[in-house]
Subunit: 334 residues, 2 copies
Amino acid sequence: MKTKESLGSKRLNLRQTARFLRKHDNYVILTHASPDGDTLGSAYALYYALNEIGKSACVICPDVIPQKYDYFARKTDHIDSQNATIIAVDVADKKLLGALSEKFGDIVDLCIDHHISNTQFAKNLYLDDDAAATAECIYELIAQMKVNINLVTAKALYTGLATDTGCFKYSNVTEKTHLIAASLYEFDINAAEINRLMFDTKSKKLLELEKMVLEAAEFHFDDRCFFLPVTAEMQEKTGCSGTELEGISVISRSVEGVKVGVTAKQVSDNEFKISMRTYPPMDASALCKKLGGGGHIAAAGATVQGNLDEVKQTVLSVIKEALEEVYAGTNTAG
Amino acid sequence: MKTKESLGSKRLNLRQTARFLRKHDNYVILTHASPDGDTLGSAYALYYALNEIGKSACVICPDVIPQKYDYFARKTDHIDSQNATIIAVDVADKKLLGALSEKFGDIVDLCIDHHISNTQFAKNLYLDDDAAATAECIYELIAQMKVNINLVTAKALYTGLATDTGCFKYSNVTEKTHLIAASLYEFDINAAEINRLMFDTKSKKLLELEKMVLEAAEFHFDDRCFFLPVTAEMQEKTGCSGTELEGISVISRSVEGVKVGVTAKQVSDNEFKISMRTYPPMDASALCKKLGGGGHIAAAGATVQGNLDEVKQTVLSVIKEALEEVYAGTNTAG
């Protein structure tokens, strides 16, 4: 099953995917790089389910798995990838395999995913873009295969669901998400402790960074815009970088009355990564397009060249124009 | 039905409570003071359900209902309380009726609640202390009465569920909580927007206060204790007080490695209200008992006299002693 596939994936439905999993063996299950609770929870739930029906399997993560996932993520057996069936879970693009992209990117036999943006890099694809999390797909596959769920599988699946929905907070949640969560509560999953680890635990250095960012943050345009600079200096001083900074953009849209929250993360001397969060009637996608980026209506991004002052001016002028169109006649002085 | 009742409530089961609601009319539905999403969501869901079966009803809140609840909380008709059937929802003690306590405290005909600490002040009591929120009780009563749920009722019920569970995050959530949430998703409730209003929207002045508190916050005892002072000066400068300060104690336990989070809110010149949040093996209830207070194992409180330095010393010495017992031999230097 090692043919290079570049003409798009063969789409499998739930039943076909379950049959695929029953038919093959020696599974290498890959997560995406910078792993989160959904890719890990999905990979391990699948791993435990395959074990349950006597299949050999292992989970390989391109990066070190953070310790906080120890309650379900264990060291798995070694599977020789030469004769393995390669599965990627929650991986929308082979680039997201990170360090494993070169080795595995073109030989994935089956991808199980919920991202509508999936690039169909795998030979076979089970994609449910209505699923709030890939863990929803895995839950349904396990049910379709009539495999028993045990406690650790339930914990892994719950972690996936909670991670991708902000603990059932976001617009991707459906009736089905809650029904699956309800069924996982049949096990003693200690969801409150999982949620504490996932959502209410930040490192001391991130707290330090947040303090610096809030100190430097600025309201503009009648408080409709909140601008948070995350400079290279702040990142160096606190030792916070990369995925650790993800939570910051949530702050940018958490203040009453703010319609456009902007986080400007310095990535090099003369470059900032802009994360924008908006509320109606503002459109983050349209705003970021003007900055050479793109995204969704409520969350989008762009990369802007310049030092902090230049970047701020560029971004604020685009926002000012858009706010003036919407709030004509009201005060939009910076 | 205006007899004074001080010998405890008559306990009704679900069926009896539904029958009570079908039998009477002219309902005055009371919420507790400093209203939250559960007392309001429960009161309005009950109001809409009673309207649906042709009963006259009104909702009375002891305090002004915050604007953010406008999506379900509407002005209701006036009901003459002289000949009314008085219901209190999510009210564990008549004192919690606040400004309405004197007028209504001793004449409540039915209390619907989920607090195990309910003082049985009402003539009749429907109490389900396994329910994560009073909204769960109301949902089941509506189902028992076979009354249709409509969109606004679904929004009110969802708000109650989400409020009291931290959006399905806490240990009070059960399988049933998620099943009820799933059934409410049959309506176009826009849960993501409700959750944004409930959980991700803070006032600019609260943000200012949080900055000040974090600036003054101190780690102690090998970072196992995080102490957050909320002085009278901070409250005056920002204009933040009372229930607006509730979110602060969440911060005190959000940092990795912290076992005891302490928030010290100044309530007068020489008095602080201590909120303590702990993780195992630490016990907030035992710690606060030593300070003359009490509460639960993970969350407790006490009132301590003194200026900030004195209060800090009192509280930290109690915590130091307890930490030393548990972490004997490790570094607990302040």
